[in-house]
């Protein structure tokens, strides 16, 4: 039987050669000894004071060494430049380098908004976010020496929304719908009209309630525990911060590409953009729709069968009318199977607006290196499930109908105001009633 030579040192050239020629190691008994019984051999030799040279042991050591080395090579984390926006704007121009423009814009933004670990507010500008909250959300996860929490955003949000709030977190590719990209400053579920920014309460509601059927969780448990009670408020501030930062970056890139304005902090035009974006966010509360209250007949109708049927009939006629055009997307029965198909604004931004057909992989794949995800059609709600991403209360559904869902093909319904054709508030409530009743038809 072939024996191990116990006199050789552990890490000898002989050992390395032996590991490299493992498949040629002699007889079955040796295989058993060398591959399947390393522990016994190791222990016997170790106990006898001899050196050990089991190839498995050497492999294990190398593996651990590799793992340790891989852990030491981390790179400094930083905000990801908005290369996708730059690439979509410069697509037709061979002279402009999208990566270079995005990099310049990122450097400009850093002078105003700081880094991932040390965010700051542009000097001389009225704060529209609470920077103490932003500081708590930024940086790595953990607690400071005074036990104050830090890195709240990385703890709860970064896996999906990414470090920059660009919706390109590690898990983003696997989710449907894709995580929101905050950098457009566009939010779906809010109480303000299309084109306006969401209020703090709107963002708080989404964080608190979550979005059913999607990866967006409810952070209700945090607010209900004393120690994490302020986490949602802080996250709202950080989302506002990332949105403002991202939108300024986007618009600076647009100015640079379209108007040739240099990406410098002292550029007057870019400073105007910064002020405009901040002003829009500051004015959000005054743009909000007052919380709609359902009329008395709305809540009492289910107990009156005749009234109930009448409301369903009326709601159905609104649902199928040309004015609302609900059927086009949601289908005749409200199952979300309408004929109209469209993409959301986040997708159109870098596809249709950049001259790319999202249906053709060859075309859209050219944007993949910049962070583009496969274009997916916006999915109209299937009312039969009785779930509404923006909230299932009558008031929330009323808001979705009246205000639309920004960034998606869902438009606001025309309201009968100042002799304009449209639905009256009562008619909208009838439509809400009908939509809510569709759940029972599944």
């Amino acid at each position: 039987m072939r024996r191990f030579d116990t006199t050789n040192p552990w890490f000898s050239w002989e050992t390395v050669k032996r590991v490299c020629s493992l498949p040629r190691v002699g007889k079955l008994t040796n295989w058993r000894l060398s591959l399947f019984d390393p522990f016994e051999i190791f222990m016997n030799r170790f106990a006898a004071g001899n050196s050990v040279r089991s190839p498995w042991l050497l492999g294990l050591v190398l593996l651990l060494l590799f793992a340790f080395i891989s852990g030491c090579g981390r790179s400094e984390l930083e905000y990801r430049p908005n290369g996708l926006h730059a690439a979509s704007l410069t697509r037709e121009s061979a002279e402009r380098d999208a990566v270079e423009i995005a990099k310049q814009a990122a450097e400009l933004i850093e002078t105003w908004f700081g880094t991932l670990d040390q965010p700051r507010w542009p000097a001389g500008l009225l704060e529209s976010v609470r920077m103490d909250s932003v500081s708590r959300c930024a940086g790595p996860v953990g607690r400071r020496d005074d036990k104050v929490e830090r890195g709240v955003f990385r703890k709860h949000c970064v896996t999906c929304h990414g470090l920059s709030g660009d919706g390109l977190g590690p898990a983003s590719m696997l989710l449907e719908p894709y995580p929101r990209d905050f950098r457009r400053g566009t939010f779906k579920f809010k109480s303000t009209p299309v084109g306006k920014k969401p209020s703090r309460d709107d963002l708080h509601r989404t964080l608190y309630e979550g979005i059913p059927g999607t990866a967006m969780p409810s952070f209700r448990a945090l607010e209900e525990s004393e120690e994490f009670a302020h986490d949602i408020e802080d996250l709202v501030e950080y989302v506002r911060f990332l949105s403002i930062r991202g939108e300024v970056e986007r618009r600076a890139i647009s100015l640079s590409v379209r108007e040739g304005i240099p990406l410098e902090p002292n550029s007057v035009r870019i400073q105007e953009v910064l002020s405009e974006v901040v002003l829009k966010w500051n004015s959000a509360p005054s743009d909000a729709l007052p919380e709609p209250e359902p009329p008395v007949w709305f809540t009492s109708a289910p107990s009156d069968q005749a009234r109930h049927l009448e409301l369903i009939q009326k709601g159905k006629s609104h649902f199928e009318s040309e004015l609302t055009a609900c059927v086009k997307c949601h289908g005749k029965t409200g199952a979300g199977d309408g004929s109209s198909q469209d993409y959301d604004e986040w997708t159109k931004d870098w596809t249709i607006l950049a001259g790319i057909d999202p249906k053709h992989p060859k075309e859209w794949k050219e944007m993949k290196p910049y962070g583009a995800l496969k274009p997916v059609l916006a999915k109209p709600r299937n009312f039969h499930w009785g779930t509404f991403h923006g909230g299932k209360s009558p008031s929330e559904i009323f808001k979705r109908i009246v205000l639309g869902i920004e960034g998606t093909p869902m438009p606001p319904v025309a309201r009968a105001e100042n002799s304009n054709p449209g639905l009256t508030d009562d008619e909208i409530w009838e439509l809400v009633y009908y939509v809510m009743q569709l759940e029972n038809r599944s």
Partner: protein, 339 residues
Amino acid sequence: MSSEVKFNFVKLWGWLAALFIFPLIWVGGLVTTHDAGMAVPDWPGTYGYNLFLYPFWTWLYGPFDLLIEHGHRLLGSWVGLLVIFLCIAAWRQESRRWYRWACVGLLGAVIAQGLLGGFRVVLDERTIAMIHGCGGPMVFAYACFVALASSSDWKNATRSLAPRGLWKLSWVLLASTVTQLILGAQLRHALPSTSPVGFMSMVHLHLTFAGVVTLAILAVALVVRKVPYAQEPALKLPSNALVGLLVLQLLLGIGTWMANYALPWSETTWSLARYVIAAKGYWESMLVTAHQATGSLLIACSTWLICRVARRQFSLAENRNSLNNPGASAALPESVSAV
């Protein structure tokens, strides 16, 4: 009964160590689930206190992340103490020299795990957290091996089986469960800078290896029911445990994905369309942690199977004898007593 018969402390401490490593893994999993690895920013102390002198009430009634992180450290210290007791007992009572060193090796592994956990904190390095997370189940499997090597089955099993199929298969199973654990750790400890493509590839690999582990366990379950293994009921126990854990693990895996990311086809059923994930919710946390802990149990059960097969398939004594005396193997009896 002879008065020379002593209480087997080696067995006691060995099993206690293995038993306490499992809750240690569970609490460690909770630490990862709640991203509480840096809840205590210093090490080896806790907020400037000695680990064992940190105020009890502040720990129990403080923030939840501090509770589990400090608890994980205390539990780790307790396991270290148990393994020290095991080493002392092994040195006093155990006649097998290799076993004594195996216990020392376990102590070294536990200390190494503790150091890795400490470096994760001191360097605030998530990659070390991942290595620490992968090391935990390995140490658990090793502790199970040490405990199993003190069992009566190890000492009394006879050499009765010839074919090598199950022996190889059980190693394939162990290798695939360990690989699956490492892949799962890559997902659990994904760095914020991980690319979506990299993460997706890891998910696909994790799913592929879930298939490999499933096939390996089903193959083991089939093989132990066939001749000649069917004559060895001792092999059925780990095999049945593996099948049970596999079913549990597959369900937990689906649940873990749902609790983290929802299903991509959520709108196919009423309940899935309505499900709202509760961030850091109790059940969600338990589900995710249980998935990771069951992975450790699968590795431990694979080790258990290997031990039982090894004691029947080959006699370790034969190897040792043949190592020392190449001509002795031919003279070995059919049944070999404890090593």
